[in-house]
Amino acid sequence: MSETPLIGGATLAPVDSRLAGARIGVVTFPGTLDDRDAVRAVRLSGATAVELWHADTELADVDAVIIPGGFSYGDYLRAGAISRFAPLMTKIVDAANSDAKLPVLGICNGFQILTEAHLLPGSMIKNDHLKFLCRDQVLRVENNTTAWTNAYAAGEDITIVLKNQDGQYIADEKTLDALEAEGLVAFRYMGGNPNGSRRDIAGISNAAGNVVGLMPHPEHAVEAGYGPGHTGTDGLGFFNSVLNTLLGDK
């Protein structure tokens, strides 16, 4: 995204000097909404955020990519169905599947795009109650070995923001069984399933652990005063995790 955010320049968190070179790309499609928030989250974690445009044909030497939430292409046809054909998506898919295993995080619409791009299995359909739902949501970290979850403890409960219309995760039974058997369920909804997702699944990982997608929004729980319950910052772990991965700490 070429525009300098009008609202920008967040106060930086204490920076590990080794992080200065960590470049995390944030992709903007037409209709992307939470890109600024993802950029802020990256900045608060101490890394450098790189704004990427869907029509770009190069990844600009980023070390990881976040596909943020929103309604890319208005969710027309099907959420994520058009965005997956963006020139930059081809590069992202190739890099994620390469030996370099580019860490990729898909949040909400980003998760939908990752399933459409076949980086992750399954799909999202309309919430079972048919309404948009925005609420603070407790998740259990089921897999803390991925590039985006290693800063959490296994089984830890975190509270981040859920907000979507098409958030019901579905896949065939065989796929669901495989996800469970291989430990690829990254997050499960706690305190009641908010949308009818199969097996309470809120987020999943690929086998290599570099690609993670989830419906709730960690980037909205990174700054006290602006997240869940006015104080929550449980989402920061996602952004710290990928830095751990990039620095080889985990």
Partner: protein, 772 residues
Amino acid sequence: MSEISTESAKKFNMDTVANAAITPDVELPWAELGLKQNEFDDVVKVLGRRPTAAELAMYSVMWSEHCSYKSSKNHLRQFGEKVTEEMKKDMLVGIGENAGVTNLGDGWAVTFKIESHNSPTMIEPYQGAATGIGGIVRDIISMGARPVAVMDPLRFGAIDHPDTARVMHGAVAGIGGYGNSLGLPNIGGEMVFDSVYQGNPLVNALAVGVMRHEDIRLANASGKGNKVVLFGARTGGDGIGGASILSSESFDNSKPSKRPAVQVGDPFAEKVLIECCLELFKGSLVEGIQDLGAAGISCATSELASNGDGGMEVELTSVLLRDPTLTPGEILMSESQERMMAVVSPENIAAFEAVMEKWAVEYSWLGEVTDTGRLIIKWDGEVIVDVDPRTVAHDGPVYDRPYARPEWQDALQADTFTGSVQDAARPSTPEELKAAMLELVASPNMCSKDWITNQYDRYVGGNTALAFPDDAGVIRVDEETGLGFAVATDANGRYTFLDPYHGAQLALAEAYRNVATSGAVPMAVSDCLNFGSPEDPDVMWQLAEAIRGLSDACMVLGIPVTGGNVSLYNQTGTTPIHPTPVVAVLGKFDDVARRTPSGWAEDGQAIYLLGTTADDLDGSEWANMRGHLGGLPPAVNLERERELGAILINASRDGMIDSAHDLSEGGLAAALVESALRFNTGARVALDDVAARDGVDVFTLLFSETQGRAIVSVPRSEEVRFNDMCTARNFPLSRIGVVDAAGAALDIQGLFTAELDELRVAHEGTLPKYFG
């Protein structure tokens, strides 16, 4: 067209200006388009000939009540007149532009405006409410601002009426579906159920935008030779005559369906349009810009031209269409959404087109700015409109509608709740008082609105510091400094029905109090005046009184009206809605980190009640629940509101309070329950002393709606300082309790204990029960 006579008109199948000049006697459908005989005669006089079909279309929409404010203009002047120099000091752009602009400091400016989308929502709730958001957001973009928040005050019919669910589901889904897709946090609003709104639901939409001072843009077309461009969505057949046919007369079952007059929204197109416009502004690529809302191209061309050098020439066949069969008149009147018109200097054309290409936005060059003082619109080279744009945009009819205090007003005001039949079984025992509290917080107007607000995204943008159910929505503007704003909307149709002058003032007082309760300094006002037919002298009196009351109160509180909207003809047959002036107040924070939430959180903090309580049950929620409406609304004391506001703002700034909640509808009972449920934290409260001090019984203390009150929680370490401040300001306060986190209950000592779970079930169960 009924008759075609000249050769050229036949060739183009069009009613040209030349044709109009030689066929003076052609019958025109001016009445069907909403014009009155005298207005049509005026059009003929202004033009010196009969209008062409296209001109008639333009005048009919631009001279409609909705666009011309012809019934309210003479009264609305007071908002501009009752303003002191002091009130103007922060006003960068006042009434008359797309939205007013207020200085926020540090080079930042904030623009906000509230508008109605009532009639379209009645007909097609989803699209009506959705496009209400779309329209107000484009007003904000037109000022050069990035939209950063929206709010929707809603008023629907009786909660148990079969049609209410239709409107409710559609409107809420529409607001969510459109607003959520734009990435704008929805941070507040209102939800009122009352059978007076059954046939005329009120859907008002507010948007706020922020910008740097140098980015302020105005709607005008200056500079001869500059190009006029239309961009965004294509023009279609939706919303034709929306402003004139829908919003400017009463519904009447005898006429055919007005569904085609409702616009259909595409939020994705709007989101792209927002980003695209901001990129245009950043590159200084446009000289003037105007959104296309009511009256579409008619409005945009005539307003741009008359606000600028006065002339414009456009070719209407260049407009990109969704439906190629549209006539020129329809194209001029279409209210298709997600369109903008801009004036671009020739040297910026290439850069402008590059931005359009980047965002894949369609555009077409329609013509250019001239210095002729005429707005010329051509169809395939033939002139079909040749008018002085001022006569279209600004010189519409103005009416001094007759008005008079209704005959029934005295009897209404004499019918007080206390002593009425409906007051026969006033609760007095502890059990009755507890049951009354539970009934109040479960009532349609006082129950939790989570069912609605959970369908809105309040987080997007990452700058939401407070949102519903807190008293005001608070947004951070500058992440470095914490500079930000608070905004709240309020209205009470019952109060205003009982006394329009003071009812409007009470709406302002409550919005002001809500902003101050959050800790912000109130700065500016925008209003949406929802009333019945101005042709009814009773309604016209309500409108005149409300405007007079509101403008007087703005003077006392020292905050100017910077913009707004009037929505008339909200009535079914001869029955108007309650007069409902919705007032939005915007306030400023130097640092939003100081914002005060509405709920208790810290165990052991002292709870204070600020202000005194009188018997103000007339027009109250309690009286409403008992089916009574009569008497006089609570007394207005604006000096007291100012003082209370100053206390709340100072206490927030100096860290003396950790929570604050204003007392309004539902009185102390509602405020206590809401403060407890906000963060699920109970309290022990003792009311005997304060009841004795004020000379009221406990029921009145709990349910009266006396103004100028708030409850706050104060850390023990700050109690002395807080007491001293209130005493020094001679403001009454009483320590009524202590936050009790462990208790998980609201313990009204000596009376009853209500478990939080019990309160929550009552408070949160109502909307799901009716709406699923």
